[in-house]
Symmetry: C2
DNA sequence: TATATTAGTGTCATTTGAACACTATTACAA
DNA sequence: TTGTAATAGTGTTCAAATGACACTAATATA
């Protein structure tokens, strides 16, 4: 076994914070000295990786209590020309319209951008977003992860729209409802949503909020 | 954003080298000062993560040209009581009976162990193996990854046995052949295997060796 | 030459997935 | 108040995929 190297790579976490806003999948970007990039930064000496990602997201975007999942670790030596950095990437899922998901405390330091119309991002952050998006779309098909993008109460039409936006294709309403109800992962609240639309829709909630279950 | 921390975690790679040996799924372990563990070690200052994993596997086990895939990054602060270490874990797949897969150059420094009867491993390496095993079993179901465990030429019975060993259940011979042949990922060589058995079996090879394709 | 062992093959029933159109309920406008 | 526009909600039918199942073929060995 070779001996440890003299110098060590800097270890960071980068977080891809996803939310459905309007009719699009968007990512929350953080302003950095050289341009726009993902929230994140160096991992503390004795800090857990998940905790570091959660802390940085909270500090930089004022978001907490989000679903967070490790994505991949990016470590090409040339990914940062300045100094060697290895990034443990995460993605976060934010519920639709969760309170201050507009412009958080940091004011001008963050902005939302549609994942389809991202500006050029610093380093390899564009690639990280692309990988995260693939993973999210893949997991829609074999897990209940979409519920992490929903508010506490939601209608089936809203849930279907989330799927359609991420997958980029329209789904059959009856088949969608049949499948999602058969999964037994949501339940009707008994309330109706009367938000401007015509006929009010039944509201549902996750049976086991916070839990992502594999399906099929 | 907080400033970089004074000290940095040590970054390592750990590799879970899988192979089918006998009728079992086995892992190649490396002797360490405090007991048996996974091959791996510190990442070089300007070394790519994948390259580091590949190098360490080659140095410590004399294995090269293997399939390598990043698994997960383990960074709990208490995973190493001595000093903070973050490990980017990989798993490797070795073809059955690939030359010196017995006892490589390092002599006494490595040993094979059945994944079901592992000795106690250093640090959290037991957990890493468990995660790798789950991932491997999962990928069997939606990819052609099993081919990475096969030698250049193999019979359908051998390929089926590999699936059965990893999944831990027996499969129907006719259904298995129907499915795998329909995938169009292997082709008959025209040769027959006459290795002691009774009726000789047709030999097959991967159409696109080295490539792992998603299926279904 | 008889026997033991593994290789190789097809059908049918069931389940799953995909396509498809109409009625119901409300808000709002005339 | 009544009509209209908009979204919510609901079953059936067909096709495709999956899973269960048993026998013949080819060779080595006794």
């Amino acid at each position: 076994m070779n001996s440890p190297t003299a110098s060590l790579p800097t270890l960071t976490t980068d977080i891809v914070p996803f939310a459905i806003r309007g009719e699009r999948l968007e990512v929350l970007l953080a302003r950095q000295t050289t341009g726009w990039g993902l929230p994140g930064g160096p991992v503390g000496v004795d800090e857990d990786l998940d905790a570091a990602a959660r802390r940085q997201l909270a500090e930089q975007t004022d978001l907490s209590e989000v679903y967070l999942e490790q994505l991949y670790t990016f470590g090409r030596p040339d990914r940062n020309p300045a100094r060697r950095m290895v990034a443990v990437a995460y993605f976060a899922l934010l519920p639709i319209a969760s309170g201050s998901v507009g412009v958080p405390a940091a004011g001008d330091a963050v902005r939302w951008a549609a994942v389809d119309e991202l500006p050029r991002l610093v380093l390899d952050h564009g690639e990280i977003v692309a990988v995260a998006r693939c993973r999210l779309a893949a997991k829609l098909l074999y897990s209940t992860i979409a519920l992490q993008l929903m508010p506490e109460c939601f209608t089936l039409s809203e849930l279907q729209a989330v799927h359609e936006i991420i997958l980029g294709e329209s789904l059959d309403k009856r088949n969608f409802r049949k499948r999602v109800l058969a999964l037994d992962c949501i339940e009707a609240t008994g309330e109706l949503a009367r938000h401007g639309g015509r006929r009010p829709a039944r509201l549902y909630r996750a049976r086991r909020p916070g839990q992502v279950e594999l399906i099929k």
